[in-house]
């Protein structure tokens, strides 16, 4: 089963970071597009890249750190090969996301904001994926999965692990 946005191995060089910044820095309000582009390419925004971003966009390192930490989407650590987000918002609550999230945590053996021991799956909460009539909903990388059940999640988790084996 194909999965959108396969994660990179996270490797980066200052020159590569600089290339991404240079491609965006002339935009008005360039900071968010730049951070998105870096994270899309390298899977995260490396802490060590912050001084380069700050210098290029003429802000302090504290400013850049503050912006990255303000937004839930941005991360400074490389996540697992897949990022699984479970919607915790009201419409999914009404359709049983609370027992589902307990199940997901138990199956993966991790709490939110953590990565499985084998480094494959990072679990995150999310507040609404806009699939509110067909929840509970989870997102795996860029794919949305609706009407999720414990059994469907178990199959999905198996597929995610199987995909990894194939890739390697």
């Amino acid at each position: 089963m194909p999965h959108a946005s396969p994660q990179t191995d996270g490797a980066w060089t200052p020159a590569q970071i600089q290339d991404v910044i240079d491609a965006h820095k002339s935009m008005p309000g360039a900071m968010l597009p730049t951070l998105h582009a870096i994270q899309d390419r390298f899977g995260h925004i490396p802490e060590a890249a912050i001084p380069i971003i700050a210098e290029s966009l003429r802000q302090t390192r504290a400013d850049v750190h503050g912006i990255i930490s303000f937004y839930h989407h941005f991360r400074t650590q490389l996540p697992g090969r897949s990022v699984v987000q479970v919607c915790r918002a009201e419409a999914c609550q009404a359709r049983g996301c609370r027992p589902l999230e307990s199940h997901v945590k138990a199956v993966l053996g991790v709490d939110y904001h953590h990565t499985t021991n084998d480094g494959e799956i990072t679990l995150e909460p999310v507040y609404c994926l806009g699939n509110c009539a067909c929840g509970p909903t989870i997102r795996v990388n860029d794919e949305i999965h609706g009407r999720m059940t414990a059994a469907k999640f178990d199959r999905l988790a198996e597929q995610l692990k199987a995909t990894v084996v194939e890739v390697r």
Binding site: I67, H73, A89, Q93, A94, C132, D142, I144, G146
Partner: protein
Amino acid sequence: MMTTTVYVPRDTTALSLGAEAIVARLERAARQRSLDLRIVRNGSRGLCWLEPLVEVETAAGRVAYGPVEPEDVDALIEAGLFEGRSDHPLALGLTEEIPYLKAQQRLTFSRIGITDPVSLEDYTALRGFEGLKKALARDARKIVDEVKISGLRGRGGAAFPTAIKWQTVHDQPPGQKFIVCNADEGDSGTFADRLIMECDPYLLIEGMAIAGLAVGATQGYVYLRSEYPNAHAIFGEAISRARAAGYLGPSLLGSGKAFELEIRLGAGAYICGEETSLLESLEGKRGLVRAKPPLPAIEGLFGRPTVVNNVLSLAAVPYILDQGGQAYADYGMGKSRGTLPLQLAGNVARGGLVELAFGVTLRELMEDFGGGTQSGRPLKAVQVGGPLGAYLPESQWDSPIDYEGFAAFGGVVGHGGVVMFDDSVDMGDQARFAMEFCSVESCGKCTPCRIGAVRGVEVIDRIRAGERATENLALLADLCDTMVDGSLCAMGGMTPFPVQSVMKHFPDDLTPRHAEGGR
């Protein structure tokens, strides 16, 4: 050989339920049968509970099947899907005759699901860009006047008259002005913005171009939440195609008038749906709320006069320009004119988009359209207007939905999200979640919101643990008042609404949990 045309939606809901696998199976079956199959990836009709809704073109019109799972495809074909026969339990007959759809008043959503979302031919065949053409032939002032006649009020939640906002920006001295579309649809239970962007994206492009002409702005930004990757892809493709065809760019349809459009992605912050926080984020900063005044219409993005409108407000504009403001104003009640795209969500049997004139009651919506709960259990509470909206008990389900009527009893129409809960819900959990959500999403600028939300969770936990419950309930009431009165924006100012509604209407759920013997 005759071509068979089958429609399989490509909106997020259909994709989340196996639309791609359905397409693959249809194509395989067509190859096996040497059938000349044409698959159109249309948008959703908004009948979410029937997704994936597969349609087949017949001489009598399009016939529908749903909800189709990939495993159903072979049996459906055996039962005559390619011929449009209705011998299968999933067969729904003519799509346009489905009562849920037929009973609606779709002005804004007139095209969704009918067209291929990125096809300019489909869009223009159904009066697409007619509003823009009429706007191009008028003075800016006359465009604002037409919107004024329509009575359109901001569909994002604040319900501020759209034309007054436009007028203010129009009246600012010439120079760089901006149109900013708020597509940070963060309220749980809402997906109408997403449907516009995924199912009829040119409508939003047209609405924004008209807004630009009305106020003298040549640059627009759509601030789109990062939780909508599919909307990003489809809307981005629509922008490219519109630009190539001259509906965006330096000279709209050769008029010499310019309008450019760019998508900017948010990064997972609910607060960025607040307009000043959104502007900060667009400028590349933390999404901290700004104090008002100055109004964004006077000092907005990069300090310039800026229209900030919700997706649904801008998407209502092409109809208003094409058919006239009066045609729009003929729908609705009181000071709430036109139609409201409602979104039925949560524990509902038939969830989806319901566009109706203002004035329908919640009960009609939840029972006649929604068909009650999905679980089949009795309905207990409904949250209208997102996470900052009150939980409404049955006594409030019979008032007609309009802005003033809802405000009169402390309700919020907001962005039109209707989230239903059956009687298994613990309203104490819901009150706690309201505070928890605020503690996660507060921008942190003002104290009542930043600290109040954290204290709110703690106080509710103490009440439910049976720790001095009476005193702590009084404390919670006081905390709610402080947040309502003292917060800088609606995040902290309205987070107490769901909490207060639970205290008032569902007090039995806010008692020590063990007292009920553990439901």
